[in-house]
């Protein structure tokens, strides 16, 4: 069997394994889905709440859609982040990390398998939340550019993959608390990217950070497509920055991961189950 075929099969190994894990942990997945829906709805209701508190000056329907887009895009991107950063954490928890890292596969194949699963999982999960939210709030999407939104989110996933691969080294380097450390990355991205508010309300320093967060462009692009029905061609200013970020972040992420793996092998950190 050629090396290429073997590597493709290995990519599928990670996808199939994760599908099996999701099936076996179905009860947890259900709880997580209900939690995510409840979370999205409670944030979105703030829009109607603002209208009720401030009166006719506030367009409640607009605010609801603004917040719905924020929660959905954020849920999708954070799911990709979580599944990729858990590449090490799951295996540490199960004690299989040495077995997987001993397999004759390139790390890029390992990451590709986990990433493909993350994208498919994130898409399905987000679609379910979107379906519930749209029906509950009776949101009219007839003027929205759904294709454009999907394109912006797909481009955004690429840049998030690079960031996630970089963050995934934390559980490799810090067996005991590495997984929790990845939360700092996601928390900063949430703060500066304008998930629930325009980035213009942030102080100058944080606004500067928002420029280098891919989520900023994804959120703005999806909002333009969904709220204003901007055509796909006009969404390019939101797509190219995240593609460039992805092209830079993925190779850097892989390089960082390889260095961290080498360090772990040098210091014997792979064998620890934290």
């Amino acid at each position: 069997m050629s090396t290429t075929v073997q590597q493709i099969q290995a990519t599928y190994a990670f996808m199939e394994r994760n599908v099996n894990l999701v099936k076996r942990y179905w009860a947890w997945e259900l709880v997580w889905l209900v939690y995510s829906i409840a979370n999205s709805l409670s944030v979105s209701y703030i829009g109607l709440g603002m209208e009720s508190l401030a009166g006719a000056e506030v367009d409640g329907r607009f605010l609801v859609l603004y917040l719905v887009i924020g929660t959905l895009v954020w849920r999708y991107l954070s799911l990709i982040f979580i599944w990729i950063t858990e590449i090490i954490q799951i295996e540490r928890w199960e004690g299989t990390i040495e077995y997987t890292l001993m397999a004759p596969i390139r790390r890029v194949v390992h990451m590709a398998g986990q990433t493909l699963f993350a994208v498919v999982y994130g898409t399905i999960f987000t679609a379910i939340i979107l379906f519930v939210t749209v029906n509950l709030f009776e949101i009219d999407l007839s003027k929205a550019n759904l294709v454009g939104s999907v394109l912006v989110m797909a481009a955004g996933s690429i840049s998030f993959i690079g960031i996630s691969v970089m963050a995934s080294v934390l559980p490799l380097l810090f067996p005991e608390r590495g997984a929790q450390m990845t939360h700092i990355v996601i928390a900063i991205l949430l703060l500066v990217s304008g998930v629930y508010y325009p980035v213009t309300v942030l102080p100058d320093a944080l606004q500067k950070l928002s420029v280098i967060s891919p989520a900023t462009y994804v959120l703005e692009g999806v909002r333009q497509a969904m709220l204003e029905g901007t055509n796909t061609g006009a969404l390019w200013p939101f797509i190219w920055p995240v593609l460039i970020m992805g092209v830079i972040a993925i190779p850097i992420g892989l390089w960082v991961f390889e260095q961290a793996e080498r360090y772990a092998k040098r210091t014997g950190k792979l064998a620890r189950n934290g």
Partner: protein
């Protein structure tokens, strides 16, 4: 017969000064103190101390030693899971540090702790493992049933979560996982620890069968002297990271005097060479 594994003056230590937190490295005095065994400081442990040996192709080679003697570290170094601090290793001519994928294609490893996704069934775990080694699903499903039956595992347990299985059964699945990829070298790190006598014999029979039928080279670590004696053609005795003796079990026994008029056992040899007893039945936690 060619050499399958060459271990040449391999050296590995843990708790190096480089592991000192970065803020301590800035304070040179603290960094230097961490090299010592002072109170609250990292201790420098030499796990493998200039170990050299060769394993011939098709040989069952044993590494005998107590807990903490460096057996698991040695296996991890060969298995590309650790990088040596000195010396070199060759696996069929390939360097595990510089050509890890080439080495990984030739080997598989069974460790003392059967590591699996506990919610997944043996079939799901083995499918995952086999695909990592480039095997297809259809071929694997057939082989999984065949190998697990050969190891004495009931067919209905193949689809139950691993967490519902006993440790012995889990260990058999671990062995099946290693056999699936048909490695040229099998690294067995105390594979029978915790197994009942019947399971132990079944596993030992499989090890012999593998060598006889497939010509697989086997490197086995154990602290079970009977196991080393009945399975291995040559045995290296490891003590505090050093090889203190290496020969066939028969020749090793010539190194120690008999006790109470009885011929010496490998345990007598070990006590004679190291001045301490081997402890059976304990799980080794080393190299971490």
């Amino acid at each position: 017969m060619s050499d399958a594994i060459i271990v040449n003056k391999v050296y590995k230590k843990f708790g190096k000064p480089a592991e000192t937190p970065w803020w301590k490295l800035l304070l040179k005095r603290d960094a230097n103190k961490s090299k010592t065994n002072g109170k609250g400081r990292r201790r420098l442990v030499t796990a493998v101390d200039h170990v050299s040996f060769k394993v011939k192709e098709g040989e069952i080679f044993g590494v005998l030693g107590p807990n903490g003697s460096g057996k698991s570290t040695l296996i991890r170094l060969i298995a590309t899971l650790l990088l040596p601090d000195g010396g070199g290793i060759r696996v069929f001519g390939h360097d595990p540090e510089k050509e890890p994928i080439k080495v990984q294609r030739l080997i598989n490893r069974v460790s003392v702790e059967a590591s699996f996704f506990k919610k997944l069934s043996p079939m799901e775990n083995l499918l995952y493992g086999a695909r990592l080694y480039g095997m297809g699903g259809k071929e694997t499903r057939k082989k999984v049933v065949e190998i697990l039956n050969r190891l004495g595992l009931e067919e209905n347990s193949i689809f139950r979560p691993m967490e519902e299985m006993s440790r012995g059964m889990q260990q058999k699945v671990a062995i099946a996982r290693a056999l699936l990829s048909r490695p040229r070298i099998l690294l067995l790190d105390e594979p029978t620890t915790g197994l009942d006598p019947v399971s132990k014999r079944e596993v030992q029979a499989v090890v012999r069968e593998l060598r006889e039928q497939d010509g697989t080279t086997i490197l086995l670590t154990t602290h079970d002297m009977m196991e080393a004696e009945v399975l291995c053609e040559r045995v290296a005795i490891l003590h505090k990271g050093k090889v203190v003796a290496l020969d066939t079990p028969e020749k090793l026994k010539e190194l120690a005097p008999g006790v109470d008029g009885k011929p010496p056992t490998l345990e007598d040899v070990f006590i004679h060479l190291t001045g301490r007893k081997l402890t059976n039945g304990e799980l080794e936690k080393e190299g971490a």
